[in-house]
Amino acid sequence: MSASETRDTWRVGKYEFGSRLIIGSGKYDSFEQNLECAEVSGAEMITVALRRVNFDAAKGPRLLDVISPDRFTILPNTAGCYTADDAITTARMGRELLDTDLIKLEVIGDERTLFPDVPATLEAAQVLINEGFTVLPYITDDPVACQRLAGMGCPAVMPLAAPIGSGMGIRNPANLRIILETVEVPVIVDAGVGTASDAALALELGATALLMNTAIAHAKDPVAMARAMRLGVEAGRLAYQSGRMPQRLYASASSPLDGLASY
């Protein structure tokens, strides 16, 4: 059976997914727009942040009333945390709030680039793994950091493509390839993609999945971009499975040389 005919799923911890696109819930105009994008994108897992309850808005619908945990796997994050302690506490809050062991671990090291604090991420990951969390760490596209995280028990690693929300695409495909070759757990490219070709490239390189937020939410037409991203991810995955032809510097004629007319 060809790759396109088998059900192509992937796993992280005890969770299994068909879709290789994970989307966020930030920066949308409305919960409803977020939901429509989620449906069109085919995403099965959606990230959320944890913030102080908004008492002014508490009477209206809340995010989880629309992006329902009954329909989607909700992945809480520790966005905005700058220390391992804050990230650990936030992860525990997420577990209580959502009854989930999943956590997208982010320990930010710099507010301008939002690049991860690698030592603090490693420290928090170890504590959370010991507490039974399924830790999905957002991390620099650093093969050694990814190897360390996988070695300590993260069931996937999430190297960035470019700074969060930058839309610059995959800035270092060579590093990503090294990570893909040297890390045994699924690699989820997280952050920085801008358009569908970026999504396709991530999957063509062999990434297991792709997590994005702004690329959809800040497109002029987010719902159409959600579809483009779905197709980009699917095309990239299929191309990866199909095994691309080798590149060569010179041409190789596709039409036969024999039987050419002589005028």
């Binding site: 966020g24 819930s25 930030g26 920066k27 949308y28 919960f31 977020n34 990230t47 959320v48 942040a49 944890l50 913030r51 102080r52 309850v53 908004n54 008492f55 508490a58 809340r62 995010l63 989880l64 909700i74 809480p76 994050n77 966005a79 506490t89 525990r92 809050m93 997420g94 577990r95 209580e96 709030l97 959502l98 969060i164 929300g165 952050a191 997590l211 994005m212 937020n213 702004t214």
Partner: protein, 75 residues
């Protein structure tokens, strides 16, 4: 002269704001006062995350710092 505090009342800090609550108020009681009873929130008291199963047992003390979080849009 500071106003003598009513012994039946105490002040805690909810998400940074001082909030009067009954002495020996539980987390369950606080959430009800705030209109959050049964809502999908998470609670920490002085950095300790309170399991939902313990909301009725954890009582608040004067000047406790309570954080009450909900899920919001994020990436």
């Amino acid at each position: 002269m500071p106003t003598p505090q009513n012994p039946a009342q105490q002040t805690v800090f909810v998400n940074g704001d001082s909030t009067p609550v009954a002495a020996h108020c539980t987390v369950t009681g606080l959430l009800e006062v705030l209109g959050l009873g049964g809502k999908r929130v998470a609670v920490a008291v002085n950095r300790d995350v309170v399991a939902r199963s313990r909301y009725g047992y954890v009582t608040l003390a004067e000047a406790d710092r309570v954080e009450i979080l909900e899920a919001v849009g994020g990436g």
